[in-house]
Symmetry: C2
Subunit: 369 residues, 2 copies
């Protein structure tokens, strides 16, 4: 029963009616945990409400070519923006560039990852990054520090990588243990090697006209890349970003703004999120609330980038849960012009953009065009 | 005739119909020049169109108390947010704090201004800042460099002030001569003394949740102060910022967002600025186009902060021109709940906030609470 409720998005029927300030509270972490057994979605949020009536279908976006990463669904609904495919294209391009650089200069880009503690999910992400680096020819460096190490030890390791000419990107895996100050640690990363793009100087340059950041944060950069490669026009379009986290929502809004969209940011204090979202030609949802954005929130033909990866309980699944986005895919795919699936949308893009940022850094440091 | 056309805002009747991408192009400089004879507004933009029909009056905002800086107009239309009065209140408060600090610590806050070249308007601004500093007890330092000096000379002077413990704020008067790179020069100002708040690190911290900038840029800070002191609620309200310059529009949008408004940014590429602006409970107009925002753009009861100070020709004036805002005051004051006049609105706030930032810097450097 729960699974059928979930499949028609009614799991969020109540949360939609709750004030968004409560529903939107938790910002999505940089990489969402993939627990062995996901925490079940609170039962009190489940009500067997009828699905909302859908708006009439429209296909205002240009039809996808066969080589387009946004391919039409068999049933004629929204084009799926295939993040796996785009991410693979990017990894291939990065691999080719790295080979060219190595041949011309002898330099191999290097990425250092610092992992503090032994969270299973963080270990998985670090392992995946390492694998992805190897596949494209980036040398990866790893430091594992115990959960109870001091902030000073982390900063000392960052300083070593800052000074190491074979390292072009440094990444501190989040979340950090509670006794550490994220800001102090992230600020210790040299601005030239901050491939995550989280340094406030990077964010400031992202916000300013006439300036460019050293690095664009990976997940929002991935969102933009999906839009660009799917042929979604941004300039002059209305865009709504749902969520304003430092790592996705806020930089995504700045990027859309830089690309000349007219941007509105919907967040936990927004009183009429549905009405505002319905005006958008482009929606980036990055709020970490399962199925929050219903079909009725969507302007026919809009392009939707769904950053959320939320575990919801699903007895029919062998793991007892499955992953859904912030957007009710079933409803949205009947209204939107293009949409990213979850999983397989934004998810694969984050690591691809990390590889791209590391290459970019190595090219800049070695002045290789 | 021109003056009567201007008085009913029809000077912008055509520009309203022009695509905003053309009309919104010039970003407002930090301080608007006050030329001896202002350049006349292009005659081709003038057409004797009838004023737009006004929306019904509404007074959704709380009634102003007698001590409120937003006082009711005699004719019962929008409350005027009196920037002169608020700026005076702030200067008085700053003066009291400086006296308290001096008595307790012996420290007198110091502000250094670097002026390059001999633009009349820049000289006037620097003189006004000096006067304002003296009036509240801030010691002012001034360096005048010739128009043809090198970037290196400017940076060298900045470095001297960076190292001078009696200087707590450093300001480089803009615009700089064309042969100089603004970015290099502004970045040379120590982040602890960047009372203008233009350093990208400051902007980044302004954009990020959980971070605070060392300094908030003076004009947008002044806009927020006007809203706060006029009792305009921001949290949960729809806000539209018109213009996205690095020195006003963009930081104003970030400040509104930080204050939990739902913010949309209208700019030169926005296709339907009127429709979007009409949704706003709060409008900050900072685009540098005379009378762009008409009555029909305004939601009844909205609060309007007009940053524009645009010279338009006026044969009836002894100087041949007069100053108007980006908002058609005559129309807007009949629709809005509260509005800043031009001049006498945001203008006086900028220097007041500069004094406030200089005091804040001295307090921080000397750890004085």
């Amino acid at each position: 029963m729960a699974s059928s409720l979930l499949s028609d998005c009614s799991s969020c029927a109540t949360s939609r009616l709750l004030p968004l300030r409560r529903a939107l509270h938790p910002p999505p972490p940089r990489f969402r945990p993939s627990p062995a057994k996901a925490p079940p979605t609170p039962r009190s949020l489940f009500t067997a409400a009828a699905p909302l009536p859908l708006l009439p279908r429209a296909r205002s976006m240009a039809a996808a070519s066969s080589a387009d990463p946004a391919t039409a669904l068999a049933d004629g609904s929204a084009r799926i923006i295939d993040g796996k495919l785009v991410a693979k294209q990017i990894r291939d391009e990065v691999g080719v560039e790295i080979a060219r650089m190595k041949e011309a200069t002898g330099v191999v880009p290097g990425l250092a990852v610092i992992l503090v503690g032994s969270r299973k999910d963080s270990q998985t992400y670090v392992r995946n990054k390492k694998k992805a680096c190897e596949a494209v020819g980036i040398k990866s460096y790893e430091v594992n520090l115990p959960e109870d190490c001091s902030e000073y030890e982390v900063v000392k390791n960052i300083a070593t990588f800052n000074d190491d000419p074979s390292v072009h990107g440094i990444l501190v895996q989040l979340p950090l243990p509670r006794h550490m100050n994220d800001e102090n640690i992230l600020n210790a990363v040299s601005i030239e090697k901050d491939v995550d793009g989280f340094h406030p100087l990077n964010i400031g340059r992202l916000a300013m006209q006439g300036r460019d950041p050293f690095f664009v944060p990976c997940t929002p950069k991935g969102c933009m890349e999906l839009l660009h490669r799917s042929g979604v026009e941004i300039k002059g379009k209305r865009a709504v970003v749902i969520g304003r986290s430092n790592i996705v929502g806020m930089p995504a809004a700045l990027l859309l703004q830089k690309a000349n969209a007219t941007v509105s940011i919907v967040h936990s204090q927004t009183k009429n999120p549905e009405e505002i979202t319905r005006q958008a030609d482009i929606i980036i949802a990055a709020v970490g609330v399962a199925n929050l954005v219903r079909g009725s929130w969507i302007k026919p033909g809009a392009a939707i980038i769904d950053v959320g990866i939320n575990p919801v309980d699903d007895p029919a699944s062998p793991r007892g849960y499955r992953l859904v986005g912030d957007v009710c895919y079933e409803e949205a795919s009947k209204v939107a012009g293009a949409i990213t699936p979850v999983p397989g949308g934004v998810g694969p893009m984050t690591i691809a953009m990390l590889l791209s940022n590391t290459l970019e850094s190595a090219k800049r440091i070695h002045n290789f065009k």
